[in-house]
Amino acid sequence: MSRHSALNRFGRSANPAFTRGFENHTGTLPLSERMTLDGAVNKTGILLALCFSGAAIGWNIPALMIPGAIVGFILALVTIFRSKEKAGSTAPLYALSQGIFLGGVTLMYENMFDGIAIQAIGLTFGILASLLICYKSGLIKPTENFKLMVAAGVGGIFMLYMVSFIMSFFGSGISLLSATNGSLMSIGLSLAIVCVASCCLVLDFDYIEEGAEKGLPKYMEWYGAFSLMVTLIWLYLEILRLLSKIRSR
């Protein structure tokens, strides 16, 4: 290793989990085997269509809601930690199973508050489109600090959910997270969670944009679409919860 290449590598992690060998791929693959923006967006469209199909099943057979959630969760873990290369087969199954789960959840909320589902769908896609416009135009610039703030926010929310989940085994829970708690504090918390989930969308856009720019392998189109779906599903659930809190007032 020459002195200059040693200097260029200074301060960079040698952990293979962080680099995943993408440095070897970037720009060296044939054009047809590289990730493109077109491919990632089309694949997101396919995943959305599968999610809607799953939702139709979950809406009509609510008993499948829990199995759908469990299968979706396992598939998400497999895609993230085991095989990004196989995202082409795991991501569609993930979208379908999570769609079944969302269909059941949406039916539950719809039975409580009439018309809440279409409001949540409209707002979710509205946020998606407006943030995409802001990202593409350069109005929102994701930086390392931005990423750190979002990661801290996601970590905090995860801890809150975990504490609430563990407390639910003992017959209690965090009332602020309850979907029928219409207090200002509770609505404020939901609003903050929606903001963090929206910021995750910006990070996903940047991931796809950079992946296409660097010419990552084709399977990363599926992975990019998958990560966008994960964020969209989370955002939809949080908007559903926020709307139900507002309606409970």
Partner: protein, 69 residues
């Protein structure tokens, strides 16, 4: 009315996503020095323009005023 408004919003937003998503982001977004370095191969914009190092390699010499005279 409510349903129609949110349905139109969802369809229009999806249309925007499917079309705008395929367009490359603006230069203002992509040509930044403070972008997230995910794949570990980005160098600072200033250093990419340089074709060679500005470090002058060689041995240091002591300049003595006495020698000049």
């Amino acid at each position: 009315m409510n349903t129609i408004f949110f349905s139109v919003l969802a369809i229009f937003s999806l249309f925007v996503f499917m079309n705008l998503g395929k367009i490359k982001a603006s230069k203002k977004q992509t040509d930044r020095d403070d972008r997230i370095n995910r794949f570990g191969s980005r160098k600072a914009r200033g250093s990419q323009k340089k074709t060679h190092s500005t470090i002058i390699e060689g041995e240091a010499e002591v300049i003595d005023d006495e020698d000049k005279k």
